[in-house]
């Protein structure tokens, strides 16, 4: 028996899917951003470096030029003390302007979004257009952009011709979302971005599915289990 979350606690309800029979909560996370900002690389690095407790194989469907045509999918998860399987399906969208229909379809029913921006100065316009596109598509698929858990990652910090973190933080001073800085190609900042997103996501999930009260899953355990679960297991085991 599958039920869609519809409660209105703590702002807009998440779209997360709770399957009582299978004891499974499925959450959808989307990596959004302009073309070639490093969304797929983020997923690859999460798969290779970060160690969630449970991790599936990454599904990618790339064209010849390493451009994402449809999406990438990385399933990760953890098991709460209650036995509940919390499963996060991490998607990327194709960044090219032409694939807006696909982007919109993947964004629909998303529970959280990582916006991967390209730090290079000459990409400022592309970042802005893509962010506007995210806001527009969120509205089209019925997501409340004001309450949607969102983290903005400035990627490609290893490249020249970028603004300093201080300048970027100053530019985004008014924005309510956490900013992270990454060089996904080298694996830096990928885990931190994901952890920041989990920190944004947990309160909404907890409000709706009583993760702490009913399933004994605290915010710390949630973030740690999805980021460093296997390290903990390895260390502990």
């Amino acid at each position: 028996m599958v039920s869609r979350a519809t409660s209105e606690q703590g702002g807009a309800a998440l779209m997360a899917e709770f399957d009582e029979e299978l004891g499974r909560l499925t959450v959808k996370v989307v990596y959004y951003g302009p073309a070639q900002s490093g969304k797929t690389t983020n997923l690859m690095q999460l798969h290779d470096l970060a160690g969630p407790e449970l991790k599936g194989e990454i599904m990618t469907l790339e064209t010849q030029n390493d451009r994402t045509l449809f999406f990438d999918l990385l399933p990760v998860g953890l098991r709460a003390p209650s036995g509940l399987l919390v499963k996060l399906r991490l998607f990327t969208v194709p960044g090219q302007v032409a694939h807006d229909g696909t982007r919109k379809a993947i964004l629909s029913r998303a529970d959280a979004v990582v916006f991967v921006a390209d730090s290079r100065r000459n990409q400022t316009t592309n970042n802005a257009e893509s962010f506007d596109n995210l806001a527009a598509n969120a509205a089209r698929v019925g997501l409340d952009f004001a309450t949607l858990p969102l983290v903005i990652q400035f990627n490609k910090r290893d490249l020249p011709d970028i603004d300093s973190e201080a300048v970027i933080r100053e530019q985004w001073r008014e924005a309510p979302w956490p900013l992270t800085f990454a060089s996904a190609i080298g694996g830096e900042g990928v885990r931190e971005t994901f952890a920041a997103l989990l920190g944004q996501l947990y309160p909404a999930l907890d409000a709706q599915f009583a993760l702490d009260a009913q399933h004994g899953l605290s915010a710390e355990a949630f973030v740690a289990g999805l980021c460093d679960g296997d390290v903990a297991l390895r260390a502990g085991g």
Binding site: L22, E57, F70, P75, L85, A105, R109
Partner: protein
């Protein structure tokens, strides 16, 4: 759930044909008989062996989607076969999700196109409507401009005629004044001359003879008559001048409250003098409510219509002017028994510059101007005519005229 959010069962991902071709290959890899079971334990191929058997989960995402079961005690081979199956399943799942996504996207694009198409059709329809209306609006505007221009032309004409008339009237009034005054004095002198004649009755025979010769009695009587006629004539001139001033009161285009019956009388008086002996002008003017209107302009209407009637009857005939109060206003009818208007002309009598008269006799503006003026008073003018038996013009003016 569709697209990337759907979840799959093993049975969905491996169709019957695929299973049939996969089973022997997996079994030759494992090195013995296998059984494939779904997430609920249901067998999809092979028979689950009794007793001790080896069981390896097949993973799609995080959880097992099914199991590969065998009696062959070779776990590495069995795991490798299960991983291979998992790899195939993921490819298959991703293909299915991508194709769902593709269909969804194409459908959305198609619907967007349909919506766009409908919008375009709608805007084209509006455009067409607008352009057809535009023609009408331009026509209406042109007609309005024409009318305004005619009114302006006619108003200018009336104003200059009025100015001329007022000037002439003023100039004539002075001489008429002293002519009348002198004529009056002359009549007094005639009376005094009679007294002189009477005094001469007892004069010499020569004087009496001389008086008889020049017929003093006749001269004095006739002189009196002549002066009386002249005075009458001078009075008539004075009245005509007064009427002319009143008639041409076009400068005073401001509205005033008045009894149209008086206007009709003035116009009839003016024209009465021009009527041939064989033409009779009947007036049936009932008491009318006062109307707010522009007097000089309505005079022009009555004059134009009456002049037409006169021209229609020619040397012999009858013209009747009737005015009566009707509900909400007044009704004026001018009827003649003249030549009438031919059917082909009747529809065009109000057209500007349309005339059946010889060049120089009519401008073709009389009825056009009459209609414009009546309409500007929110009234209406209708013409009924039968060739050979006459014409009836009916003018209705509402009490709250403009």
């Amino acid at each position: 759930m569709k697209g990337v959010d759907r979840s799959f069962t093993l049975e969905e991902l491996l169709g019957g044909n695929t299973r049939a071709s996969l089973q022997p290959r997996i079994e030759s890899l494992v090195g013995g008989a296998t059984a494939l079971t779904g997430s609920g334990g249901e067998p999809l191929w092979g028979r689950i062996p009794d007793g001790a058997s080896f069981r390896v989960p097949i993973q799609l995402e995080l959880e097992p989607i099914g199991h590969l079961v065998s009696d062959v005690p070779d776990m590495p081979r069995l795991r490798a076969a299960a991983a291979l199956l998992g790899f195939l399943l993921r490819q298959r799942a991703q293909y299915l999700m991508a194709s769902d996504l593709h269909i969804e996207t194409v459908q959305a694009d198609y619907e967007a196109l349909l919506a766009k198409h409908a919008e375009l059709e709608e805007s084209e329809r509006r455009l067409r409507e607008l352009s057809s209306q535009l023609e009408q609006r331009v026509e209406a505007q042109v007609a309005l401009l024409d009318e305004r221009q005619r009114q302006l032309y006619e108003a200018e004409r009336l104003a200059s005629v009025g100015q001329l008339a007022a000037g002439i009237a003023h100039e004539i009034n002075n001489p008429i004044g002293f002519i009348r005054s002198n004529l009056g004095t002359s009549r007094k002198y005639v009376g005094q001359l009679r007294a002189v004649r009477d005094a001469l009755q007892g004069g010499s025979a020569e004087t009496l003879e001389r008086a008889r010769e020049i017929d003093v009695d006749f001269i004095l009587d006739d002189f009196d008559d002549l002066l009386r006629d002249c005075l009458d004539g001078a009075d008539r001139i004075a009245r005509i001048v007064r009427d002319l001033k009143g008639f041409s009161n076009v400068d005073g285009a401001a509205e005033e409250s008045l009894d149209l019956g008086e206007n009709l009388s003035v116009v009839c008086d003016m024209l009465a003098g021009q009527l041939p002996p064989g033409v009779a002008l009947h007036r049936r003017l009932a008491p009318l409510p006062t109307l707010r209107c522009r007097s000089g302009h309505l005079n022009q209407v009555f004059f134009n219509v009456l002049r037409n009637a006169m021209q229609a009857v020619g040397e012999h005939g009858t013209i009747s002017v009737a005015a009566s109060a009707e509900e909400g206003g007044v009704c004026i009818e001018i009827v003649d028994d003249g030549c009438g208007i031919a059917k082909e002309h009747l529809g065009r009598v109000f057209d500007p510059f349309y005339t059946t008269r010889a060049v120089g006799e009519g401008t073709g503006l009389g009825l056009t101007v009459a209609r414009d003026i009546v309409q500007s008073h929110r009234g209406r003018i209708d013409i009924a005519s039968k060739p050979g038996s006459g014409t009836r013009v009916k003018i209705s003016l509402p009490a709250e005229a403009a």
